[in-house]
């Protein structure tokens, strides 16, 4: 119980009799018509607490007001067949899919971009904490995390401020939480200089019958706030209110970035799982963005009655917090549960065992409204749906960017290409040493990838693979991908290429792709060109998912990633989750057994628009991205998954940035076992030269290593699938080289040095 006192309370009654009181709606980010609509809904002016609640829940971040009209395409493109795999779809805290044997898996990727720029460590840490709570609130045990990070130029001074903090924050939180970090990306591009991206993914597991939902039902059921106390951290827009009300020496501007306590969250996870196991939770919601405003209004909106909450019962870290600050606080590590009165005692006993503070702050009522009181005084009386779900919807103007014709017309054909073995060799070394393709071990070794003992594969393999069922080995593979250079050239194709790459990465591991989550990072929706990019990307992704037959289960939209007029490249990050019967049989990305045959699957065309080679060799971005054919991707995926199931492949690696050359180098370096490669047959078949075959980024391709004994069966599998395949080499140990016959011989030690020296040279000293 708090001893907080409030200076003056703006009650519902007061609001009714003082209709003309000036209110700071504009400072809170509301538009004039939005404020008018609130007055219409309530039939009076809102109280200051109501105004705060609406302002934050109707923000872009919470209401998706600019993106909603486009996001509808995800549902429209989900066929009945795709729906069958979905146990919980878009709209809940995270989507849930059926992976067989009674197991359900929930996963989601979410952005924490702006906070991570302001305060890199805490921004990234609480980004991980937030997505993990989303997974927990579905009734699941979180089993892994991944992080996709994008930074400005590696040699820019601010990158040296942002990167170490973000990496330490991701690691510091998840390591202490005991969740393995199994993959992700680290990308550098000047377009992210003032707007780094931190996209965090978490995945959780549960039995299908244990799925929980965020709803407050059952009149008389208790509403319990549990976990950390509420403090003044994470109060953004509401600080405006505080400054309006207090004098200059009052507790005005509070930190807008939340502070994380991973130990508190670890205890909260175990506590929640005990609560679920005891069947004492009727509905549950995590407290993330918009804090109590969001949790109470969403629980009430999803339920069948009203809700009454006594805000003065909320345990506080800071007794000077005002009601609107308590409502908006984004203090971390808090959850809200709806519990039947008869189960209250057991609920409290479990939270006590974990030393987790739990307080009954409200109850489900017969009415329809969300009513919030401070003592006896009512400060909120609103229809919860109007806050949580019926926010404003914008049809923002869209316009194809004026620069796009020139950009797409600036094709890469005129760029000088290396010729001869020495030139190709140098090009490969340059690519392998480039910041985007170099060894990321310096970063990923700061993450615990082993905790829980279920990690079958982690970075730098194509996807992260974890066991779900310890008895059978059933588990999941996840990959996150996006090449924003492609998306800049063509957002529709770029989104589909991101989907294709993530799909391929899951398939090369041997897992059957099952579902998608996305994190759509774009610039300002108020710029018609950005809005056009967003619409194109959503159209591409939703149609692509339909073609591949895998549903989008949920995700996140992050807009306003721009500084002044300069927006980031459109970055529609796609996470694909696949399932396999026994993850111990996953296919690694590197080969290890000399004598095995190396095959190239798919065909190669001269496609260099947006490629890594044009960036590294010429700092060029122009033309069109590679052609994407999702039917080809689906057929390639089938071959990779079937080959894995039948034990026909010992290694498989997808071809993406840097093309065949980089894939061969990575597959050789993974275990320090080289290969001898010949190109002539494929060059002749596809009508391309050695440079193009080695460095073009045509989609729908992979390399595999096949044991001699399985070559006939593997070739038969490709033939029956009608898929182009060619034996292009052999795994060779001993010499310790990657040899491309007739072109170059590259010692692995030299390759390794080039590959591994880049990040330590830039970041280790600092």
């Amino acid at each position: 119980m708090t001893s907080a006192t409030q200076p003056t309370i703006d009650t519902v009654g007061n609001a009714s009799i003082t209709p003309d009181t000036e209110q700071p709606w504009s400072e809170l980010g509301l538009k004039a018509d939005e404020y008018e609509r609130i007055r219409e809904i309530l039939g009076r002016r809102p109280t200051i607490a109501e105004l705060a609640m609406y302002s934050v829940m109707w923000s872009e971040h919470c209401s998706y007001k600019s993106s909603k009209v486009h996001l509808a395409q995800f549902s429209e493109n989900t066929t009945d067949e795709m729906n069958e795999k979905l146990l919980v779809g878009i709209g809940e805290n995270a989507g849930v899919v059926d992976i067989g044997d009674g197991w359900a898996v929930t996963f989601k990727v979410e952005s924490h971009n702006h906070p991570s720029y302001v305060e890199p460590y805490q921004g990234a840490a609480t980004g991980v904490g937030g997505i993990v709570r989303d997974i927990m609130s579905m009734g699941a045990r979180p089993i892994a995390v991944m992080d996709s990070l994008r930074f400005g130029a590696p040699d820019h001074p601010d990158t040296h401020r942002v990167l170490p903090g973000i990496v330490a924050g991701v690691g510091g939180y998840a390591n202490c939480l005991g969740l393995p970090n199994i993959g992700g990306e680290v990308i550098f591009d000047p377009c992210y200089q003032g707007n780094p991206l931190v996209n965090a993914l978490s995945v959780g597991k549960m039995r299908i019958e244990d799925i929980h939902l965020a709803k407050a039902s059952g009149v008389g059921n208790k509403v319990i706030l549990f976990g950390a106390k509420t403090g003044g951290d994470g109060i953004g827009g509401v600080s405006v209110l505080a400054s309006e009300t207090f004098d200059a020496d009052g507790p005005a501007k509070r930190p807008a970035v939340q502070v994380g306590d991973p130990f508190a969250e670890k205890v909260l996870i175990e506590c929640c799982l005990d609560l679920y196991a005891a069947h004492v939770v009727d509905g549950i919601q995590d407290l993330g963005g918009a804090g109590l405003s969001c949790a109470t209004s969403e629980l009430a909106s999803n339920g069948d009655g009203g809700m009454r909450v006594w805000l003065d019962r909320v345990p506080l870290r800071d007794a000077t917090l005002r009601v609107e600050e308590i409502l908006m606080s984004e203090s971390q590590e808090r959850m809200m549960a709806v519990v039947e009165p008869g189960k209250l005692e057991e609920f409290m006993a479990i939270t006590k065992r974990w030393d987790v503070e739990a307080t009954v702050v409200g109850e489900v009522t017969e009415g329809k409204n969300l009513e919030v009181f401070w003592g006896d005084e009512q400060i909120i009386d609103v229809p919860p749906r109007s806050v949580a779900h019926d926010g404003p919807v914008y049809h923002r103007p869209m316009q194809r960017p004026a620069y796009l014709d020139a950009l797409q017309g600036n094709v890469s054909d005129h760029l000088a290409r290396p010729t001869g073995g020495a030139g190709l060799r140098a090009a490969l070394l340059a690519l392998m040493a480039s910041p985007n393709l170099c060894d990321k071990t310096f970063i990923t070794d700061q993450y615990d990838r082993y905790v829980m003992g279920n990690t079958a594969m982690a970075m730098p393999d194509d996807s992260g693979v974890v066991r779900v069922d310890e008895e059978t080995g059933r588990g999941v593979a996840i990959s996150t991908d996006c090449n924003s250079r492609y998306a800049k050239l063509d957002p529709f194709a770029g989104a589909q290429l991101a989907l294709a790459e993530a799909y391929r990465n899951v398939a090369t591991a041997g897992a059957a792709p099952l579902a998608v989550s996305d994190c759509l990072n774009f610039g300002s929706p108020e710029d018609p060109a950005v809005m056009w990019q967003f619409a194109e990307a959503v159209r591409g992704l939703s149609q692509g998912c339909r073609t591949l037959g895998i549903p989008v289960t949920g995700g996140n939209v992050s807009l306003y990633n721009q500084t002044a007029d300069v927006a980031i490249h459109p970055t529609p990050l796609v996470a694909v989750l696949g399932v396999m019967d026994d993850v111990a049989r996953r296919t690694p990305s590197g080969w290890s057994d000399p004598g095995q045959a190396v095959y190239l699957l798919g065909t190669t065309a001269d496609e260099f628009g947006g490629s890594a080679w044009t960036q590294v060799a010429h700092d060029h971005l122009g033309g069109m991205p590679p052609t994407v054919d999702l039917d080809v991707e689906r057929r390639l995926g089938e071959i990779l998954v079937n080959a894995s199931r039948q034990g026909l492949v010992a290694a498989a690696h997808d071809l993406s940035d840097g093309g065949l050359a980089v894939a061969l180098a990575e597959a050789s370096l993974r275990n320090g076992v080289g290969a001898r490669i010949w190109l002539d047959q494929v060059c002749a078949r596809d009508g391309v030269d050695a440079f193009t075959l080695l460095f073009s980024e045509s989609a729908g391709r992979a390399i595999v290593a096949v044991p001699r004994s399985e070559q006939v069966r593997f070739a038969d599998l490709c033939v029956s699938g009608g898929f182009p395949h060619s034996e292009i080499g052999v795994v060779e140990d001993g010499a310790g080289v990657l040899e491309v016959q007739g072109q170059f011989v590259l010692p692995l030690a030299e390759l390794r040095t080039a590959h591994a020296s880049t990040l330590p040279a830039i970041f280790a000293a600092g």
Binding site: C176, P262, K266, D439, Y450, V451, G453, A584, L669, A756
Partner: protein
């Protein structure tokens, strides 16, 4: 054979220690930090993690947990106890083992497959090894730098109480194709490359790396960790 695994709030590898005991053929028993009963177990594992958040100093608070009031005298009386990572830190804080753990000298968390040499194969937890064995298990920690004063170091070296030492890969002899940030040095600055130590009697062993993450094919760098647990099962039988 009952092997207890203590769960503190913030323990992370307790489930993994259970699994390792089970795979080795023992019966894992859950022990709770707030309960001073050892439930008649034959040996105890203090698992890895960040007990109570470790915001003060790793293991400093766990050392005062109710379960430790029973465990510390039992360990002094000969009960086999293995401290892994945070468990090692707790054993040092409890003065069951000499020395202390401080932050890695490079100040970052490090997770990697680590080669070790078994220096003492006579303890309750290492008897299935042969002295000089080179093993690879997982290292993952933030506060893994083993420190002690020179006299203590000389003493434990002289008494053969260094149980494990980090094997140092030189930049030229490395056969790893992965970038080795720690070529030519140990991965956390530990004095005399010490990765683990034992008490005089050999029943209490602590080490920073994680044997419980090297017990199953496909889920770790090797199966080298299994011998820790088979060792104790045999030593319990023979006593």
């Amino acid at each position: 054979m009952k092997i207890g695994v203590v769960t503190f709030p913030g323990s992370l590898d307790d489930h993994d220690a259970h699994r390792a005991v089970r795979v080795a053929g023992g019966d894992p028993v859950s022990l709770w930090h707030g309960d001073d009963s050892l439930r008649e177990v034959d040996a105890v594992v203090l698992p890895g993690g960040f007990s109570y958040g470790d915001y003060l100093r790793a293991g400093a608070i766990a050392r005062f947990a109710p379960v430790m009031t029973t465990l510390i005298p039992a360990a002094r009386g000969g009960l086999p106890v293995l401290g892994i990572c945070n468990g090692f830190q707790i054993l040092c804080e409890s003065h069951l083992l000499p020395g202390a753990m401080i932050q890695n000298d490079h100040r970052t968390f490090i997770c990697r497959d680590q080669r070790l040499r078994v220096e003492n194969a006579t303890t309750a937890w290492t008897s299935d090894f042969t002295q000089g064995d080179e093993i690879t298990i997982v290292l993952k920690n933030q506060d893994g730098q083993y420190v002690a004063d020179t006299r203590t170091l000389d003493e434990i070296e002289g008494e053969g109480r260094v149980a494990f030492r980090y094997l140092i890969d030189g930049p030229d002899t490395s056969d790893s194709v992965r970038y080795d940030r720690f070529a030519g040095r140990n991965p956390n600055g530990s004095y005399r490359d010490i990765a683990g130590v034992t008490n005089e009697r050999g029943n209490v062993v602590g080490l920073m790396p994680h044997p419980e993450h090297a017990i199953e094919k496909g889920y770790g760098p090797s199966l080298d960790g299994l011998k820790f647990f088979t060792s104790v099962l045999k030593s319990v039988v023979s006593s």
